[in-house]
């Protein structure tokens, strides 16, 4: 996923998304936009459901998203 790209969070069958992230609005069906990547490639600055959040890559990898061009992958770079 590149800066400026958007994707949709996929169903979380295994319950991998941490509760805290869900509570901040990062739940299946929501649109995520990658706004900025910190120097040294971590953490990521995302916008989801109107919230602007910084999360670490290891956390982001738990969230499966589908990028707008229908490619299924994790929020990896």
């Amino acid at each position: 996923m590149a800066i400026g790209e958007q994707g949709i969070i996929q169903q979380d069958v295994h319950g991998k998304i941490p509760l805290k992230l869900l509570e901040m609005g990062c739940f299946p069906g929501a649109t995520v936009e990658l706004i900025q990547i910190a120097p040294f490639k971590d953490p990521l600055y995302i916008r989801v459901n109107g919230s602007h959040l910084a999360i670490r890559k290891e956390t982001a990898e738990l969230v499966e998203i589908e990028i707008s061009e229908n490619l299924c992958e994790t929020l990896k770079l």
């Binding site: 805290k20 609005g25 706004i35 900025q36 120097p39 919230s51």
Partner: protein, 699 residues
């Protein structure tokens, strides 16, 4: 007259919603900061007169996104709502939401509403609506939420009266189960839970069941909860489902009542973020801000500090001239007045530092620093969130260590707590300030002075020591915890002066009265120890007069008597006994006394030397600095405070753990004696070695 009605109000909300601004607007300076029993979480309580005969007691609860806690701060929020018995249990909850993140704020709203407590929704930052293209149908939203909804702007001071009216009429706010999503989370489990804990509202049972390990509840209830039959259901999965259902519920409401024109949003924020989180400019700007802070602490604070120093010297001699001579007068002029002066002298620097920290937090810049620094800090075993404690540590390690509470991973939090005392706190500043003024020349390079640069070097040294020890601890400590990291990057805001003012006032006050007590008490004890002693002390006059060669010169003779007295006082004896250990560092027994006393608190160093030299000195009008400059090293015949001694002392103070209050707070926060003891021994040994090497290099 009728009895005044008292309404207990709990103020809750997400961080960065202006909750504390509303609190300040409602209560003004009628607020009190204390700790919650057993924990060091700050508890802010204030009173507000909201109508004739009606007073509201408002507690400002820590900011949280959800009632399910992940940190100590958030535990308090949950605790407040679950213990109906305690005195603090609120009559009404005022939830402050920010207009832009209404969805996420409503999440917390629905949780509290489901607890069947009356809750009023306050939507703050209404002044931003037009700019962000936001439109809300307030009447319909109130109807859908079955509650009161009020638009306010704490920035423009609008709507505060309506909040007061709503609090006054809190009994009109409907209560009762709200979202009714329990059966949809799991149609089998929830009815069974309801049956097992029939006397408790369902959502409360659910919270008790999922969170009882985080809070203090009565043992009987705890036993009942532990007995609840889960019937093989997975709690975590149900929690996740609950969250998603809640958001669906909220989305349905917002679809009808809230619209936003996204094109109108993000402009300035986007541009600022591009620069402030840039991989080069981001760091350059951060470094420039730090540099500016340190330069201003030294430059701006010098004038008021010199003024305070001079005023107290004048006051001492004035009082001495007014009162009849005697023990009492000596106690006042040589113990109490210099002692109080030693506290007051901190105020300019602390106030400047807290102002900067408060402004950086208020504007939203601090979160960008967290984002920028996280990866780097992780190499040193900490988190991006550790930057806040490390910077606050430049004011005082105590609030800084408390600020480490919102770091989620235990290992990252522990390392932050252990290394924070290395950062140059304001207690070191008077020590540095006086030593720099004594041993570093006043050369200037453009806008920078050599003295200012030296001070900055000492700050950098403190940070370097913090990072290095963080790295070492990271490698040594074998603690495995998952460190979960989510930070909200709020919108940029202009700081509200009133908020900054109140924060600075509260923190400075807490410092003056907290640390001040220790400093003042030690000053008095010191004065006593320096003016009393065993037999040699009492016979000082006779012994000196017999031995001295200056029998004819009364002034010189008196000085010798005073010096002899100090040497043979209790404190002199203590200083002498450690002299062999500190001689390699270039210190004599007088500095030794100051070292000993400053193990209670660093800043006592200056007031101790002030007390010692004023006991010894006959001319009272001199300032501490002049007295120190006049001190002679008998071995060399030159000034005692030369460059090697000054540098060695500064290095010692940079690293040594000399603050009892910090050790006490570390004990409290880590809940063990092991960490504060380790911290004390480690830092002090390191300081000794480093000071020894410094002295050898410079001499």
């Amino acid at each position: 007259m009728r009895d005044a009605e008292i309404i207990r109000v709990a103020l809750v909300g997400n961080p960065n919603t202006g909750k504390s601004s509303l609190f300040n607007e409602l209560t003004g300076l009628k607020q009190k900061v204390s700790n919650y029993p057993g924990v060091t979480v700050e508890r802010r309580i204030g009173t507000a007169k909201i109508a004739k005969d009606v007073t509201a007691i408002i507690s400002d609860l820590p900011g949280t996104y959800s009632i399910n806690p992940t940190s100590l701060d958030e535990n308090i929020v949950l605790q407040t709502f679950l213990n109906t018995e305690v005195e603090d249990y609120p009559d009404v909850v005022v939830l402050v939401a920010d207009v832009e993140n209404l969805k996420r704020n409503l999440f917390l709203f629905t949780q509290i509403k489901d607890l069947e407590i009356p809750v009023i929704l306050i939507i703050n930052m209404a002044d931003q609506m037009k700019k962000r293209g936001i439109c809300i149908d307030i009447d319909q939203l109130a109807q859908e939420l079955n509650s009161q909804v009020i638009l306010i702007s704490t920035k423009k001071n609008q709507g505060i009266d309506r909040v007061k009216t709503a609090i006054q009429k809190y009994k009109e706010v409907p209560v009762g189960p709200f979202t009714k999503i329990a059966s949809r989370i799991d149609p089998d489990f929830f009815p069974s839970l309801n049956k097992q804990l029939a006397d408790i509202p369902l959502y409360k049972s659910w919270l008790l069941l999922t969170q009882h390990q985080h809070i203090q509840i009565e043992p009987a209830l705890k036993k009942r909860i532990e007995k609840v039959d889960l019937k093989g259901h997975n709690l975590a999965k149900m929690q996740n489902r609950e969250t998603i259902l809640r958001y669906q519920f909220i989305n349905n409401i917002l679809k009808k009542t809230y619209s936003v024109d996204t094109d109108a949003a993000t402009g300035l924020r986007f541009k600022l973020d591009k620069i402030l989180t840039h991989k080069v400019y981001g760091y350059v700007i951060f470094a420039a801000i730090l540099l500016m802070i340190f330069q201003s602490i030294f430059d701006w604070a010098t004038v008021p500090m010199d003024f305070i120093d001079g005023s107290f010297a004048t006051m001492s001699s004035w009082v001495k001239s007014q009162l009849p001579p005697g023990v009492f007068t000596e106690l006042i002029t040589e113990g109490i007045i210099p002692g109080i002066g030693g506290i007051i002298i901190f105020i300019p620097q602390i106030a400047i530092l807290f102002t900067f920290v408060a402004v950086l937090e208020e504007t939203g810049y601090m979160s960008r620093v967290v984002f920028l620094m996280d990866k780097i800090m992780r190499r040193f075993g900490m988190s991006g969130k550790s930057v806040v404690p490390l910077i606050s540590g430049t004011a005082c390690a105590i609030p800084a260590i408390m600020a480490a509470r919102n770091i989620n991973g235990w290992k990252e939090r522990l390392i932050t707590i252990l290394v924070t005392p290395f950062t140059t706190c304001s207690a070191r500043l008077p020590v540095y300030a006086i030593l720099i003024a004594l041993v570093i020349p006043q050369t200037r390079y453009g806008i920078f002075s050599l003295q200012g640069l030296t001070l900055m070097g000492l700050y950098l040294l403190g940070f370097a020591a913090a990072l290095t020890s963080g790295y070492v601890l990271h490698k040594i400590l074998n603690i495995k915890t998952s460190s979960f990291f989510v930070v909200e990057l709020p919108n940029y805001k202009l700081p509200i002066l009133k908020n900054v003012g109140i924060t600075v006032y509260e923190k400075t006050k807490a410092f003056v009265f907290g640390a001040g007590k220790i400093i003042l008490a030690l000053s008095i004890v010191l004065w006593f120890l320096a003016t009393h002693g065993p037999s040699d002390f009492k016979n000082a006059e006779r012994i000196v007069t017999e031995q001295s060669v200056n029998k004819d010169n009364e002034q010189l003779l008196n000085q010798e008597i005073e010096a002899y007295k100090l040497e043979n006082s209790y404190i002199g004896i203590a200083g002498k006994s450690i002299e062999p250990a500190i001689k390699p560092l270039g210190y004599d027994w007088k500095i030794g006394i100051a070292l000993l006393t400053s193990f209670a608190a660093r800043e006592v160093f200056v007031s101790t030397l002030a007390t010692i030299y004023s006991v010894e000195d006959d001319e009272e009008t001199n300032t501490i600095k002049q007295r120190m400059a006049a001190e002679i090293n008998p071995d060399t015949g030159k000034g005692r405070f030369n460059l090697p001694v000054g540098m060695s002392l500064m290095i010692f103070y940079a690293f040594a753990m000399q603050c009892m209050s910090t050790l006490a707070i570390v004990k409290k926060e880590t809940n063990s004696w092991k960490w504060p003891i380790l911290q004390f021994v480690g830092m002090t040994v390191f300081a000794y070695v480093a000071a020894l090497i410094t002295y050898q290099i410079f001499s």
